[in-house]
């Protein structure tokens, strides 16, 4: 059987809108020719398939806007094609007009059961053909407009979410949060959750000297340069930024999504923060005579993850022992040093160069009752 595929651009249509595409499936070449001729006369694109199998293949290859489908075809019948297309999610929305014999009311019942959207009697009256196809084209256009409006709204909503949350989390994480948000758009649970978190606190050694000895404008520029490096390093390893105050930064791992290698990520982040800040520290030393460097504390354990605040101001926060401990560790860490609790050390031990690690033994941190094992890691930087 020969296949006739002919697209004919309507001469009088000058708009850029794509033509309405109709696929005609019929085993009679004369019917194919007749129907295609009529539709092209109305400025539509008409493609033809000579049997059911070819019709299904053509729909799957490039979904048309409408299918005109003959019922009585040898092999795969029109009912078969209809059922097949209507049961596939990808093609179920394509309207199907079954072309049936005028007197055959049984076919119509069967057609409705197969999911047909409309019927056309054979022999075909051109007025009836045009009227039915035009009605379906209008429906199609309305649906397309509604759909593009809905999509535009959805995109706008997602962009708003993205811009709000990309301040706290890495762009990749923001994508994942949006993807996981679901249709309700609930991003972070409003209820507090208990989670295992790896908390990393970093701050700038020598910062007090900067604020005392440098003019205000420069302090802000310097802080911005410092925080840019730290947040870049955090995003680089998919940390979530929870707090930025003065010269200190709190980031968390394993939140809001589990990260198998959370402690490793924390170590890599700390390393990147220190080593990437080192050249800046050298420049500041040359320009202002300041001794600066990043000090870091890392601890892990159970914490509470929640939106905390008043109706006017809320902050997405982690609260709990590991956060407090990381803060205390950071306070005692000198420049270019990472202090970590024993649990973190045990998990990343294999990644650390033995000569750079110094066990500090059991330490009772300020404000804590129980002593904890503390390990110090020197990050080598060229002075």
């Amino acid at each position: 059987m020969s296949k006739t595929v002919a697209r004919q651009a309507p001469t009088e249509v000058s708009t850029a809108a794509p033509a309405f595409r109709v696929l005609i499936v019929d085993d009679d070449p004369d019917m194919l020719g007749f129907l295609a001729h009529m539709l092209r006369g109305e400025g539509m694109d008409a493609e033809t398939a000579a049997d059911g199998t070819e019709g299904i293949a053509m729909v799957q290859a490039a979904a048309p806007d409408l299918v005109l489908l003959d019922v009585m075809m040898p092999g795969v019948t029109g009912f078969d094609v209809c059922k097949r297309l209507k049961s596939d999610e990808a093609t179920a929305m394509i309207p199907i007009v079954l072309v049936t014999s005028l007197e055959d009311s049984g076919s119509r019942v069967q057609g409705i059961e197969a999911g047909a959207d409309d019927f056309l009697s054979k022999p075909v009256k051109r007025e009836e053909l045009i009227a039915r196809v035009k009605t379906l084209r209008r429906l199609h256009e309305t649906r397309r407009e509604l759909e593009s409006g809905r999509l535009a709204g959805e995109i706008q909503n997602r962009e708003a979410i993205r811009s709000a949350f990309s301040r706290y989390v890495s762009p990749q994480l923001a994508e994942r949060i949006i993807a996981d948000a679901g249709e309700e758009g609930e991003l972070f649970s409003s209820r507090a959750q208990r989670v295992n978190v790896v908390a990393l606190f970093a701050d700038l050694r020598g910062f007090t000297r900067i604020t005392e000895s440098t003019e205000v404008g420069s302090v802000v520029d310097m802080l911005n340069e410092y925080f840019t490096i730290l947040t870049d390093a955090a995003y680089h390893h998919d940390a979530t930024i929870f707090n930025m105050a003065g010269d200190s930064l709190l980031v968390g791992f394993n939140v809001p999504f589990p990260q198998e290698d959370a402690t490793r990520r924390a170590f890599l982040t700390a390393q990147e923060m220190v080593s990437r800040f080192a050249p800046v520290a050298r420049r500041w030393k040359d320009n202002y005579g300041l001794a600066t460097g990043v000090g870091i504390g890392i601890c892990m354990g159970e914490a509470i993850l929640a939106n905390v605040g008043s109706p006017h101001y809320t902050s997405y926060t982690i609260i709990g022992n590991p956060v407090n401990t990381a803060a205390r560790l950071m306070q005692t860490a000198p420049a270019n040093e990472v202090l970590m609790c024993g649990t973190v050390y045990e998990e990343i031990q294999s990644l650390l160069p033995a000569e750079a690690v110094e066990p500090r033994g059991e330490v009772t941190l300020r404000g804590k009752q129980e002593p904890i094992a503390v390990y110090a890691l020197r990050i080598p930087v060229t002075e």
Binding site: P29, D30, G33, F34, D70, M72, P123, R126
Partner: protein, 101 residues
């Protein structure tokens, strides 16, 4: 019933499709004859059904009515009725004149 002449009025815009349409009818007559000789009523019914759909769509009402008669006759296995239809159809195809407007 045979006539001296048959005149069919066809929409002008279909003119380009008519030579192929008429060619297909003549081939169809041969296929119908072969099916009738073989008493292949399934094939006769299929061909009759197809004639019924295409004929009037183009403006050839007699093709449709003949097709329906063949379809019904084949359905009831009436070889004589089929034979009579084929004689009329042959006469029609030989004499039909087409007027475009």
């Amino acid at each position: 019933m045979k006539h001296d002449a048959y005149t069919v009025t066809v929409a002008k815009d279909l003119a380009d499709l008519i030579p192929s349409f008429m060619d297909n009818r003549r081939k169809e007559l041969e296929t119908l004859r072969a099916a009738a000789s073989a008493s292949d009523f399934d094939e006769l019914r299929r061909l009759g059904h197809r004639m019924k759909g295409a004929g009037s769509s183009y403006g050839f009402d007699l093709v449709s009515t003949t097709g329906k008669t063949i379809e019904d006759a084949a359905q009831s296995g009436d070889a004589e009725a089929v034979k009579a239809c084929l004689a009329i159809y042959e006469d029609y195809l030989a004499k039909v004149e087409i007027v475009y407007e």
